[in-house]
């Protein structure tokens, strides 16, 4: 396949660059270590040198988390419009849709994790850095509302560059909307587990990602509010490498535990079990 594709690429010129198979090696953005992609994939896309847990698609995350065949998707047909009529926004969304096969940057639905039923939210950083606009805000809100109605826990795998700038004030309001839905779910006495994955930043950190009853992070991932470059610009010096890492947040008291990808499914399912009605003391 690679050889067959080569002739075409040469004649197609510059645009063909994307078609060259790039997946032979992985270079870790945290430590710079390079490994063969095969080995990297076999290790669940974790850097064998520094244990940085790299980004994975929402489909991969679902496969690693939910019981096979248990997932029923919610609101798969929601798509963005262009409220500010910002030039090029529709094209950007269309390109992200074509690249990922997704309609938007989050999938939501119901599944079981080692037989325990929950509502699951998975963000996908490949889709416009999983920024939160109207669709992400609406899908997350509906997921919490359905979980509240059905009395189900929520497990959210977050990843985001923050608010979707192209939607202006409307994207900002999604922070309030999702947080209010989390509040109602919490009021109903239901469990919300957040799993922070690479990168969780900006308006998503400043809304539902920081509001879990239990906040888990994958090792070495980036978690923060302000962008690193913005802060470096403010203080005029270079920040240490571990700044805004999962470990940094654990040290400062904003994460409950750091769990490796290989143990994530088991850990989440055990936490779900610990909150089943039969497991609570009747006081």
């Amino acid at each position: 396949m690679e050889d067959g594709g080569k002739d075409k690429e040469e004649s197609a010129g510059k645009d063909s660059r994307a078609k060259i198979p790039k997946n032979l090696l992985f270079k870790c953005p945290r430590c710079g270590n390079v490994v063969f992609m095969e080995e990297f994939n076999a290790g669940l896309k974790v850097c064998p040198n520094c244990s940085y847990h790299s980004r994975i698609s929402c489909q991969e995350r679902l496969e690693l988390t939910a019981d096979r065949g248990s997932f029923v998707e919610y609101d798969a047909d929601l798509t963005s419009l262009n409220p500010l009529e910002f030039p090029g926004y529709e094209e950007k969304v269309a390109a992200a849709q074509a690249k990922t096969g997704l309609k938007e940057a989050v999938i939501t639905g119901e599944c079981t994790i080692r037989t325990r039923r929950c509502v699951i939210i998975i963000m996908d950083s490949r889709f416009m850095m999983a920024s939160m606009g109207s669709v992400v805000g609406e899908k997350v809100t509906r997921a919490f509302e359905r979980a509240t109605e059905k009395g189900l826990p929520v497990v959210a795998f977050t990843a985001s560059g923050g608010a979707r700038m192209q939607e202006g004030i409307i994207s900002l309001m999604q922070m309030a909307k999702t947080s209010a839905a989390v509040a109602r779910h919490s009021e109903a006495g239901l469990l919300y587990i957040t799993v922070l994955t690479d990168p969780t930043t900006g308006g998503v950190t400043a809304s539902f990602a920081s509001l879990g009853d239990i906040i888990i992070a994958e090792p070495k991932v980036l978690i923060g509010f302000a962008g690193r470059r913005v802060i470096e610009g403010t203080i005029h010096q270079r920040l240490p490498d571990d700044f805004q890492s999962a470990e940094f947040l654990l040290e400062h008291g904003f994460v409950d535990m750091i769990v490796s990808r290989v143990n994530m499914r088991k850990t989440v399912s055990k936490l779900l079990k610990a909150h089943l009605p039969g497991q609570k003391l009747d006081l």
Partner: protein, 307 residues
Amino acid sequence: MEENKLTAWERMELIRHKGRPTVRDYIPMIFDEFYELHGDRLFGDDAAIIGGIARVHGISVTVLGQVKGHNLEENKKTNFSCPHPEGYRKALRLAHQAEKFHRPVICFIDTPGAFCGVAAEERGQGEAIARNLLEFSQLKTPVISIVLGEGGSGGALALGVCDTLGMLENSLYSVISPRGFASILWKDASREKEAAEIMHMRAEDLVEYGVCDGIIPEAPGGAHMNPQLTAGNIADFILDALKNLTQKSVANLLEARYNKFRKIGVFEEGGQIPPGSVLDDTLPGMDDLPEDGVSVSTEETDLNQVL
């Protein structure tokens, strides 16, 4: 009210005018008494957010506000009105106190954004803002927010989850400053004027989106031309809103507050689900997925250089 013909950028220049009244100027003009309260009881006291108990027309209220300065010295004290987490946590503490004593909460928004710095990250800027969004959505007392000047990003919204949002006629409110917008989307901060117009951040725009409930007129030429007159208009807006909100039961108040934000969003529903969506049972295997992080093609790069 007469139509405001100023462009968004002209309004930005107006609200950055050194003489524009700040929350500290307005408090004595709007309220009969004010007792400032300090500190978040956890870390410290952030001068970027002022809080306290005030009286207006015989009613006790809790006042919270982001504090701009008129000069460099004042702005240094308040970090140019960019709060740290302890500022938001002070606001939340005082909001809970207001709830306990059945006092309405009046928030004054006037910030380019939450402070971006090392200490702010160490103390959980994201968590502090998120917590305010969640807690204010359920606060069992009326909340009125008023944008005085700049309302920028989550740092503004942390005082903006309310029952009634008013905006001074020249104030602006959006997801980020025009400069940040231009810098992120066009990689060119110098296009901030153009960004201001395209961002739809004027009070009229926000009324249209259902975010803003009322535009408060300023003195002709801008609030700084007659602070007293502008303060009177703000007071009228607050009293009107209070009259309306205090008649509602707590349950109705919270339901309406939830719906105020619940309905904001512009999207399309229905239509085809694209092939390759997660509903397909042919999920891609690990090997078929696009690269992530920085991957290197052997066709382009000398292996030895990489390794």
